[in-house]
Each structure stands twice: as structure tokens, then as C-alpha cells.
């Protein structure tokens, strides 16, 4: 135990003495949390719209009035020439064009379905789908208005109402910030712990340690615990910021969050450590770590829903620690899930941690 303490003491001194490392550890997370949480949003605040009203009738103008008055739409241009609108989409200055063809009013009066074309720039498929849905729903409401005028007693057969639980305002930040916290903790854990051992290899000091009677587990524990503490400290700072700066509710038990984070950190640090035992230079280990990190992050459900991934990709996620942690931290923070709700995931994560750490201890050789 005393041996572990000496290693920890040394690691702390080294971290705090490094002018480059200190800001990375303590300032970067804060800046990242700030930038990321504002940058990361799918919310569509405004649709840049181009209007091509060839019909230019009372009916068409009355429909378009609904778009003009909506704060969701910003009318970027207007003409009777559809080609001009297409050109604007191509240039990227507008997202969507509404095109009302000649005969719109006549058709409506005649009782023939009157068509309105909605042309979306669909390169960003999901955004296009959302924008299209807004527009279609405005037209739908307009229709309901027509029906209500004609037959006041008519009502839809089945009424629908909906509730958004846990986040009634649909605030995207509420969703993202727990995920971003995971990201920060992960980067600190995986890179610092991982790079650290390989650095000793590169500068040669590991030899000096390998000729001492130190036990393998003592060495690894002494290396891990300092960064484990630093990462948990960063998590605490991040949670404080989330709570008081971004006013994200923390419904669940805060100690449960730390319990999960502690287990999780063991897994990522184990991975980092394992990488550093199989590589010889910082450059190699950096690339390996980077590769796994990017794959894990993008597949974790942080940015895109896990449910929409194909089955094989979800199978890969079985070994993706980030996916577990993100799911759990979101459950605890946003839904107030308790120990019983997450215990299954937690046990799995713990087993994972034990496995990867044993692997790292086993792979670390004092004698080659």
C-alpha cells in the first residue's frame, strides 16, 4: 500500500508541474463543455425559405401568409420563377422552396386536390425530414381550418394529444450535456493514463522501475488512481456547471452518478493502459487510442440514436464502454433512475473493467 502511495505522489507532482498538461486537464473540460453544449444541437431554429408563387391568387397568398407570419420561417427570396429558387438551393442560401403552381385556386374551387410542391435540400437527411414535417403540418392545419369553416361541427375521428416527459421543453442541451460530461471524463481517463505508461517506456524510466521489486498491480494501481481522482474531480466540476450554469436538472442520486463513473473509469483507463502495454511509442499509442475513441464515441449514441443502428452495429456496442455510461448517466440525471434500474448495466461494466484491467496487468511485463 505504501508503495502505491509513493507512485501516486510522484504522478501528482508530475502532473501539476507540467505547464502544458495542467490547462489541458483542468481548463479544457470547461471550455469544451461550454463550446460543445452550444454547438451540438439538431434543433432547427429557422428554416430559410424561398417562395415561388406562380398562381399568385387569394388562396395561395392566404396559405403563404401562414409561413410569413411564423417565426420559424425566414423568407430569403421570392419570385415567380422556380428555376431561380432551385439555384438558391444549389448555392446553399435556402433550405426549402415552396412552389405553388398555376391553377391552385381554380382547383381548390373546383374540388380537385390543389397541389403545393415543397422542395427540400436533403443532403442533411434528418434536418430535411424535420423541416419538411414542419411545413407539411402547417399545410395540414390550414386544411383543418378550411374544414372547420365549412363544417363547424366536423372534428377528427380520433383525437391525439401528446406529452414529453423528463424534458417537456425538448431542450437539446439537457440531453447532450450528460453525454458531453462522459466524453470529457473519457478523454482524461483514456489518454492521460494510457499515454503515461508509454511515455515512461519511451524515455526509459520504466527500466528503472522494472528492476525494483515492485509488484505489477502496485505499479498499475499507482498509475491509475491519480488520473482516476483527476477525472472524477473533472466530473464533479462538470456536474456543477451543468447544474448551475446550464440549469440541467439532476433528478437521480448524485452518488449513484459517481459510483457509475468510478466503475466506468476503471474500464476506460484499463483500455488506455492495455494500449500502452502493447505499443512502444507515444505516437503509436496515440493513434490506437484515437481510433478506438472515435469509433466508441460515434457509435455510443452520444450524437445519433443507438436504436437506429443496424443489429450488427448494436452488437459491437456490447464492448463499447461509452455506450453503457452514456445510457446510464442519462437515465440517472434526466429520468431519476435508481440503483435497481441500472444495476444490470453496472454489473456488466464492472466485469468488463475487471477483465480489461487483468488483461493489462497480465500484458505488462517486467521481464521480457
Amino acid at each position: 500500500m505504501r508503495t502505491i502511495f509513493y507512485i501516486m505522489q510522484k504522478e501528482f507532482i508530475q502532473v501539476f508541474r507540467n505547464r502544458m498538461m495542467l490547462p489541458i486537464i483542468f481548463l479544457m473540460p470547461v471550455i469544451q463543455l461550454l463550446i460543445l453544449s452550444f454547438a451540438v444541437t439538431y434543433e432547427i431554429k429557422q428554416i430559410r425559405l424561398y417562395i415561388t408563387d406562380i398562381d399568385n391568387s387569394v388562396a395561395s397568398r392566404s396559405l403563404l401568409q401562414h409561413f410569413r407570419s411564423s417565426p420559424f420561417y425566414q423568407i430569403e427570396g421570392e419570385s415567380k420563377n422556380a428555376a431561380e429558387g432551385m439555384e438558391n438551393i444549389r448555392k446553399g442560401t435556402v433550405h426549402q422552396m415552396i412552389c405553388i403552381l398555376p391553377g391552385f385556386e381554380k382547383n381548390l374551387a373546383k374540388g380537385v386536390p390543389a397541389k403545393v410542391q415543397i422542395i427540400n435540400d436533403a443532403i442533411n437527411g434528418s434536418a430535411a425530414a424535420l423541416m419538411n414535417a414542419y411545413t407539411v403540418s402547417i399545410i395540414g392545419n390550414y386544411n383543418q381550418g378550411i374544414i372547420a369553416e365549412a363544417v363547424p361541427e366536423a372534428q377528427p375521428v380520433v383525437k391525439i394529444n401528446w406529452l414529453y416527459w423528463f424534458n417537456p421543453e425538448l431542450d437539446y442541451k439537457t440531453y447532450m450535456i450528460p453525454g458531453i460530461l462522459v466524453l470529457l471524463v473519457t478523454i482524461i481517463g483514456m489518454f492521460l493514463a494510457g499515454m503515461n505508461v508509454v511515455r515512461e517506456k519511451e524515455i526509459g524510466t520504466i527500466e528503472q522501475i522494472n528492476v525494483t521489486p515492485i509488484k505489477k498491480y502496485q505499479f498499475i494501481a499507482g498509475k491509475l488512481i491519480p488520473f482516476w481522482i483527476i477525472a472524477l474531480f473533472d466530473l464533479a466540476a462538470g456536474l456543477l456547471m451543468a447544474r448551475f450554469f446550464f440549469s440541467i436538472p439532476i433528478l437521480g442520486n448524485i452518488f449513484l452518478i459517481f459510483l457509475v463513473a468510478s466503475v466506468y473509469l476503471i474500464v476506460v483507463m484499463g483500455i488506455g493502459l492495455f494500449i500502452s502495454t502493447v505499443t512502444n511509442t507515444q505516437q503509436q499509442s496515440m493513434f490506437l487510442a484515437w481510433f478506438f475513441l472515435v469509433v466508441f464515441i460515434l457509435m455510443s449514441g452520444l450524437f445519433t440514436p443507438v436504436e437506429s443502428m443496424p443489429q450488427w452495429a448494436r452488437n459491437i456496442n456490447v464492448i463499447n464502454p461509452i455506450a453503457y455510461f452514456i445510457r446510464m448517466i442519462r437515465m440517472i440525471m434526466l429520468k431519476g433512475s435508481g440503483f435497481q434500474d441500472i444495476v444490470k448495466h453496472l454489473i456488466y461494466l464492472a466485469l468488463y473493467g475487471i477483465t480489461i484491467l487483468s488483461l493489462a496487468v497480465w500484458r505488462y511485463r517486467k521481464t521480457t
Binding site: 397541389k115 434528418s126 460515434l298 437506429s308 443502428m309
Partner: protein
């Protein structure tokens, strides 16, 4: 070496297949106290859409909360008691949708989709009433199937070019500095320009090959079209590679060892490349400050260019401005590194 070539390809494959924003097979639970023909018809309509799969039949409203907390479903559809009975009596029964909005994006999409499906059901019932209405005819251009790959391929090309070119150069030059071999090269009769060129050209080739293999992969595996001129696309890629390399050289003139170079590359480049470039998140939704910040991010301009060429088939007249910006940023970095370099030599 294997890592350098293999890693980009694995990532493109993985992300191309796995990452999508579309909703598919979202788990939905049902509360239906009095199941009958009508509620079954509506349920079938919902599950036939492919957006949802049935998770559980809950008995009471009380179970919903537990169901959500365990993460067993994303949405619960609640049918009112005596549903068809009320409908026959003309009483307009209600369907309530409760979405787990801890993921607001998915929640609102799920509600929108089910809303649409149920409205359609309504319209079917009302059809007899004989109304003619306005019909919306949406068209999705450039990406009719709304594939996520269209969005991700340009982004991934950009990230990988940035990684291989900028990060690799900065680290390899920093390594030479650290090991002291740079001094040896500098005292040799070679001109500094030749030294740098010699270091950099292998990475230019490497990045270029990477870019081409990613394009081939996305064309043949994911069916992402290249509508515009391939030559133009490659030329723009070379411009971007040069920019990334000059950034790498610039970083290496600041950093004095590998670790610093890595951390600088990591935090100064990777994050902005992924987040402030419009790769995943549309820039126009960000707060103004970040939008301004993104103007200085080379990947932002490059992603726009690739999208225009590949997906829209536009020519240079649509993005000469972006091209000029890239060329300008590259010049700035080159000049800055030459300055730094000379100071060090003096």
C-alpha cells in the same frame, strides 16, 4: 503503416453503415385497457410503418414511469377506455402519446411520425365526407432517400485528411526536433524548403491515396454519387491537403516535443473539425459566436465544397469563394511557419 491506411477505411465502413439519424425500430409500449378492432387497427398501422417495434403491453398508467426509467421504451401509446364504443357514439376518443424526451430529438420525431400515422387513419375515416384539400407534395432533392451517409462521407473525408496530414506532419517533425535529428538536417547543405518538402511529400501522397480510397468506398459501397467533376474534386482535395500540411508544419514550429504537438493537434484541430464544421451539426443552428468562430475553420469550407461537387454537381463558379478562402488560410500558415523557422535559424 497498416494503421494509416486501414484505420480510415474501417472508420468509413463502420460509420457509413452504423451512424444514422433516422428512426427505425424505436421501442414503443402500449396501454390499451379495452383492446378492440379499432385499437388493433391503429396499432397495426403504427407498427407496420417500420419506425416502431412493440416493446411491452402495460396494464396501467402507473407502469409507464418505471418502464421509462429502465429505458425499456421510448414512447408509450395510450388508448382511451372503451375506444371503439366511443367512436361509434361519435365521441372522439383520445390517443395519448407519452414520449421519453430525455432524448428530445428522437422524442419529437417519434411523436411526429405517430401523429402523421394517426392523422392518416383519421383521413381514411373522413374520406367519405368528401372534402378536397390542399395536398403537400414534398420532394427531397440531392438525397431522395434521406440517407445519412450523404452527410457523413464528406465529413469523414475531411476529418481523415486533417488527421493524417496535419497531425502526422506535426508529430513527425516534432519527433525529429525532440531526437535532435532536425539540427543535423539543418546544418546540411540542403535548403530548409527542401527539407520540409521532403518530409511532407510522403504525407501528401498518403493523404491523397486515402482520399481516393474513401471516395471509391463511398461510391461503390454506399452509393454516394459524384455528380460533379472528379478532377475538380481531386484538385480541391489537394488544396485542402496542402492547407492541412501547412497547419501541421505550423504546429510543429510551435511545439517542442511530440506530446505537445499531439495535444495541440488533438484539441486545436479535432474538436473544431468535428463540431464546428457542419459535419454532424448544422452551423446555422449554433449561437452567433460559434457561427463566427466556424468561419475560421478550414474544414467548414472544404465540407461545403465537397458537398457541392459530389451531391449537387456544381461547378467552380458556385464555390470559388470557398476555394479562395482555403487558399488564403493555407498561405497564412505557410508564411507564418517560414517566419518562425527563420527566427529559429537566426
Amino acid at each position: 503503416m497498416v494503421i494509416l491506411f486501414g484505420m480510415p477505411l474501417v472508420q468509413v465502413l463502420l460509420f457509413g453503415f452504423a451512424i444514422t439519424n433516422e428512426i427505425r425500430d424505436a421501442k414503443v409500449s402500449i396501454v390499451d385497457p379495452t383492446p378492440d378492432v379499432v385499437t388493433h387497427a391503429i396499432r397495426n398501422k403504427l407498427f407496420a410503418s417500420g419506425f416502431f417495434i412493440e416493446s411491452e403491453i402495460l396494464n396501467s398508467q402507473e407502469e409507464i414511469s418505471e418502464n421509462f426509467r429502465k429505458g425499456e421504451s421510448k414512447m408509450v401509446v395510450i388508448f382511451e377506455n372503451d375506444f371503439s364504443g366511443k367512436m361509434e357514439r361519435g365521441e372522439h376518443p383520445t390517443i395519448q402519446l407519452i414520449a421519453d424526451a430525455s432524448d428530445p430529438n428522437t422524442a419529437s420525431m417519434l411523436v411526429n411520425y405517430s401523429n402523421g400515422i394517426i392523422s392518416e387513419f383519421n383521413r381514411g375515416q373522413q374520406a367519405s365526407s368528401g372534402f378536397t384539400l390542399i395536398i403537400a407534395e414534398p420532394r427531397m432533392i440531392y438525397n431522395p432517400a434521406l440517407k445519412g451517409v450523404y452527410m457523413f462521407v464528406p465529413g469523414i473525408i475531411t476529418i481523415l485528411l486533417m488527421l493524417v496530414s496535419a497531425m502526422m506532419t506535426s508529430i513527425s517533425i516534432a519527433r525529429e526536433k525532440e531526437l535532435g535529428t532536425m539540427e543535423v538536417l539543418l546544418v546540411s547543405p540542403l535548403k530548409p524548403f527542401n527539407i520540409i518538402a521532403g518530409k511532407v511529400i510522403p504525407y501528401v501522397l498518403l493523404s491523397f491515396i486515402n482520399a481516393i480510397s474513401i471516395l471509391l468506398l463511398s461510391y461503390y459501397v454506399f452509393g454516394v454519387p459524384v455528380k460533379g467533376s472528379i478532377i475538380l474534386l481531386l484538385a480541391e482535395s489537394i488544396l485542402f491537403i496542402i492547407l492541412a500540411l501547412s497547419l501541421g508544419i505550423f504546429i510543429s514550429t510551435i511545439a517542442n516535443n511530440q506530446q505537445t504537438a499531439m495535444m495541440l493537434s488533438m484539441f486545436a484541430m479535432m474538436l473544431p473539425t468535428i463540431l464546428l464544421s457542419g459535419f454532424i451539426f448544422p452551423i446555422e443552428n449554433m449561437p452567433e459566436v460559434l457561427q463566427w468562430l466556424s468561419l475560421a475553420m478550414p474544414p467548414r469550407w472544404f465540407i461545403q465544397i465537397i458537398k457541392s461537387i459530389m451531391l449537387k454537381g456544381s461547378g467552380i463558379n458556385y464555390f470559388w469563394k470557398e476555394t479562395l478562402i482555403l487558399a488564403f488560410i493555407a498561405m497564412v500558415f505557410i508564411v507564418a511557419s517560414i517566419r518562425k523557422f527563420k527566427i529559429r535559424l537566426a
